[in-house]
Amino acid sequence: MRKAASFWTSFVVAVAIGLVCYRLSAADTTKVEDVAVVVSPKNAVQSLTLSELTKIYRGERQYWRTNLPVVILFRTPGTYERDVVLRTIFQMTEPQYKQYWVSRIMRAEATSPPTEVFSTGMIKEGIAAIPGAIGCVRASEVRPDMKVLRIDGHLPGEAGYPLH
């Protein structure tokens, strides 16, 4: 009887330690970071709702209020920023995203999918060169010459910010 109690006590302790280790390692691998929506400082827009941002990224809204054409700079597959944008803005998987743009182009609603860039530096360069450009970068990688937009009234790092 005493042996059995000892066995089960040790079993429960071991499982508990295992679970804690698992949680710690899981938390380490899924590092959550806010993704900032950035535009050119020349762009007059200061904030967008998540719904407006969705329309822009889905190509349903192709012009800023000043009639400036929107140019989306989108990170290549496999990047954290792209995963966050697909999950929170498009609410699509990677294949669904590709199929979405095939159908938009065949409906003559767009001529190509958003421009894909390989690094945050390329987004920075694009935003500096194209007044209507918009991109998403990790909040920790925002550069001084990027204007960060408020989304639903929140900046990255604030409670209630939706892109992470």
């Binding site: 295992g18 012009y63 065949m106 001529t111 694009g126 060169a129 204007k147």
Partner: protein, 428 residues
């Protein structure tokens, strides 16, 4: 075994198991992992460069900048400005637009059919081979073309299905000229000739290619855009064009059949809060001068009213449309109304990577027996009651197999036809 030893043994066993598992997963990174690692490295290197640049330039900071506090040009040193100028030069290549810049895409399908209809043969058919050309001509001007090649008994027919040049002013006003799929119907402007995009093998009868119930094509001009409607997400399309040719299944590509232009107006709503829902309606007007002419050479004024409600989330998918075609004989003043509708239900199954999608469609079409235009042998449109049941299997992200059974009843004296159909459709 003492209690502490026992606990230690359990911990060691668990850690060993965890370590073995992680070592197994990390043993051989795949190509995507290598790419991800390289992308992460690029980001880190870029960040490091930015930090080094910031440390060289006193007063500048890489911290996130809140909106409304933009004073970046005043804060930058001359050295930074020179560097920025250099970057601006290189940045032109990041998202440089070349005009024109042609993008090509294709759709194709291969079909098999077998029915119990008298006089038909089972067998394979090559479906349409469709090429799309999209090319921006400037930031606000774009061209779109759609070519189809269709197998015929003795050769292939090539058709310019769509050819559109569009000028954008803003999201609220875009003006285009060319040959369109008439925006009178949801299906016609949603799936076009991309059979891979549509769930089923075939189009609904009311808007099938080569059909006569509704004008599938429209040659002329079209204004389109958003309507200021907030979360309702409303849009419009208003067109003016040649309308139906003398052969009513064709658009007046080489000129109108009479001096009366066709017009079309469509309004739809895609509510922001209910993504996937679209509700809309359209109205189309034209004067038809049939060729060959009917006895007495009558013309027919045509007015088509249509409505649709769709839910495209796939879990479930609902497509539903209704149209009433109103013809008035200009000689006698007699009015004829023909109706058609369909309801299509589908559901993307959650298992096996969501590759399977069963569907069902019911179609109905009623033509008054005295309808003179749709009763002529050259223009004939028959009553229809049809059920279609099938399943779609997405074998890849860009190719699908579809198996379909159809049960069709036409006029009162026509036999019921049952058929089995298989199709593979894809984009490339």
């Amino acid at each position: 075994m003492t209690k502490p030893r026992c606990v230690l043994l359990w911990i060691l066993l668990l850690l060993a198991a965890g370590g073995a598992a992680s070592a197994q997963t990390a043993a051989e990174p795949g190509p995507s992992e290598v790419v991800n690692a390289l992308l992460t490295r690029i980001d880190r290197l870029e960040q490091r460069v930015a930090e080094l640049e910031a440390s060289k330039t006193p007063g500048s900071t890489p911290a996130p900048q809140a909106p409304g506090t933009a004073s970046e040009e005043n804060q930058q040193s001359p050295a930074t400005k020179i560097h920025e100028h250099d970057e601006d030069q290189s940045s032109a290549s990041v998202a440089e637009h070349h005009f024109p810049s042609m993008h090509l895409r294709g759709f194709a399908d291969v079909d098999f059919s077998s029915t119990d209809e008298h006089g038909t043969h089972s067998g394979f058919t090559l479906g349409q081979f469709v090429l799309h050309v999209a090319s921006p001509l400037s930031n606000r001007v774009a061209y779109f073309g759609e070519l189809s090649f269709t197998a015929q008994p003795t050769s292939y027919t090539a058709d310019v299905e769509r050819s559109i040049i569009r000028f954008d002013y803003n999201d609220y006003f875009k003006l285009s000229f060319g040959r369109y799929h008439t925006p009178i119907n949801y299906w016609n402007t949603e799936f076009h000739h991309g059979l891979w995009l549509q769930t089923t093998i075939s189009r609904p009868e009311m808007i099938r290619f080569g059909g006569r119930f509704q004008p599938v094509h429209f040659l002329g001009m079209l204004a389109e855009g958003h309507l200021p409607s907030g979360p309702l997400g409303m849009g419009y399309e208003i067109g003016l064009g040649n309308g139906r040719a003398g052969t009513i299944s064709r658009a007046g590509d080489t000129g109108d059949a009479n001096n009366n232009r066709a017009w079309v107006a469509r309004v739809f709503a895609r509510p922001t809060g209910l993504r996937g829902l679209q509700v809309g309606g359209a109205i189309y007007g034209d004067d038809i001068t049939p060729t060959p002419a009917l006895t007495g050479n009558p013309r027919f004024s045509e007015l088509i009213e249509s409505a649709h409600i769709v839910w495209t989330s796939e879990t479930p998918e609902l497509l539903s449309e209704f149209a009433n075609v109103h013809h008035r004989d200009t000689l006698t003043g007699t009015v004829y109304n023909s109706q058609a509708y369909y309801v299509q239900l589908a559901y993307r199954l959650p298992w096996q990577q969501r590759k399977w999608k069963p569907y069902y469609r019911f179609e109905y079409m009623h033509i008054p027996p005295t309808e003179p235009l749709f009763s002529l042998p050259d223009f004939q449109v028959k009553d229809l009651v049809q059920s279609t049941a099938g399943i779609r299997w997405d074998i890849s992200d860009f190719a699908a197999f579809k198996w379909e059974y159809r049960h069709t009843k036409r006029g009162p004296t026509d036999p019921i036809v049952n058929g089995a159909f298989v199709q593979t459709s894809f984009t490339f």
